[in-house]
Symmetry: C2
Subunit: 195 residues, 2 copies
C-alpha cells in the first residue's frame, strides 16, 4: 500500500491505477467533495459514463456493491466499501464557466475542470474528453416528481472514505473540489491511498 | 419548413440543423421514444452534456423554457414547446450490450447506439463520442430518497411533439427507439420537421 497522498485544497491530480488495485479516497476533515474521472489506460477514449452506470445499476445513488461503467459497457471500478453512501454522478466538474454562472460576484477559479484538464494532459486526454464526473461525497438531492436538484453540504465527517477496486488498467483524475456550494463554503484537502 | 420526415421503427438518422432553425420531433402513434444527440457542426468535439445541463438548469426534468448545454458550457438547443413534458437525460442509447444485459432471451439488436453510430460516421463522429442522449418522451421515474430508477412506458399520445431551436450550427442524431421497455414493448416510427 502506498503512503497517504494529499491533494491540496482547490487542486487536482492524475495517476495510473492497475487492474485489481484499490483506491481509497478519504475526506480528512469532512464536508469536502472530490471529483473522480477514469479512463482505460490502454485506450483513453474509453471513459466512465454516468448514463451507462445508471442503466446497469438501475439507480443514480451509487455505493458499496455498485460498479462504475464505461461508455463501452465495461465495468471500470467496483465500489467495495463506502462510509458515506452519498455521492453524485449527475453534475460536471466546476469550471471558469460555472464560477461565472453561479458566483458572479466572487473570484473566478479554473475549478475541478481546469485542475483535471492540466493533470490529464500528460496522458493524452484533452478537455473535451472530461465527462460528467463521479463526485465523491457530493450531496445533490433530487426531487423525484419535479426533477429539481440542489447542491448542499456533504454529510461526510472527518476520515470518511470510499474504496474502489479497478476492474481494468486505469488513468484516474481526482480533485479536492474548488466550488463554494459543494463543500459548505470552505476549501479543504482530499487524501488518497493506493493499495 | 421541410416536409415531415419519417424515421422507421428501430432506425436512426443524422442531419444538420442551422443556428436559428427549429426541429420538431413528433411521436406519431404515441408511446414511443426518440434518442437525440447534438454536436457543434464546426467542431464535433463539442457535444451535448447531461451534466452541464443539469448544472445550469438545476433540474433533471427538461421541458419548455430549458436549454440543453454542451460540454463547453454553451447552449446548444432551447426547448421552445413541449406537449409532453416528460423526457429522460439520464440513460445512454440502447446497444447490443444493453440488449444482452436486459433481454437475454430476446434477439439482440444494435439499438439506438448502433443506429446513431452508423448515421453519425459521415460527420466524423465515432462511437466513443456518443454521449448520454436526450431521450425524448422517455419515461424514467426517479425515487429521490433511494435514487432508484425504472424505465416505464412514455405518457406521450399520438401526435405529441417537442420543438427545439438550434443555438449554434449543429449535427443532430435522432432515432426511433429499439428497446423493449422504453416504449411499452412495441416499435414505432418517429417523425420530424425542420423549420
Amino acid at each position: 500500500m502506498t503512503d497517504k497522498v494529499r491533494i491540496e485544497p482547490r487542486s487536482g491530480t492524475a495517476f495510473r491505477l492497475a487492474r485489481g488495485q484499490v483506491l481509497t479516497v478519504i475526506d480528512p476533515q469532512g464536508v469536502q467533495v472530490s471529483d473522480l474521472v477514469a479512463y482505460n489506460a490502454d485506450d483513453v477514449r474509453e471513459v466512465i459514463s454516468n448514463g451507462r452506470t445508471f442503466d446497469y445499476e438501475e439507480t443514480i445513488r451509487l455505493t458499496a456493491g455498485h460498479q462504475l461503467w464505461s461508455n463501452r459497457s465495461n465495468p471500470m471500478l467496483s465500489i467495495i466499501e463506502d462510509s458515506v453512501g452519498l455521492h453524485d454522478f449527475l453534475l460536471t466538474p466546476c469550471s471558469t464557466a460555472t464560477f461565472e454562472h453561479f458566483y458572479p460576484d466572487k473570484p473566478v477559479h479554473r475549478g475541478c475542470f481546469g485542475n483535471l484538464a492540466e493533470a490529464l494532459l500528460p496522458y493524452g486526454i484533452g478537455e473535451d474528453a472530461i465527462p460528467t464526473a463521479f463526485n465523491l461525497f457530493m450531496n445533490v438531492p433530487v426531487d423525484g416528481p419535479t426533477g429539481r436538484i440542489e447542491v448542499i453540504a456533504p454529510v461526510s465527517t472527518a476520515a470518511d472514505f470510499i474504496r474502489l477496486k479497478a476492474e481494468m488498467d486505469l488513468v484516474i483524475g481526482l480533485t479536492a473540489c474548488s466550488a463554494y456550494s459543494s463543500n459548505g463554503g470552505s476549501f479543504k484537502p482530499i487524501d488518497y491511498v493506493i493499495g
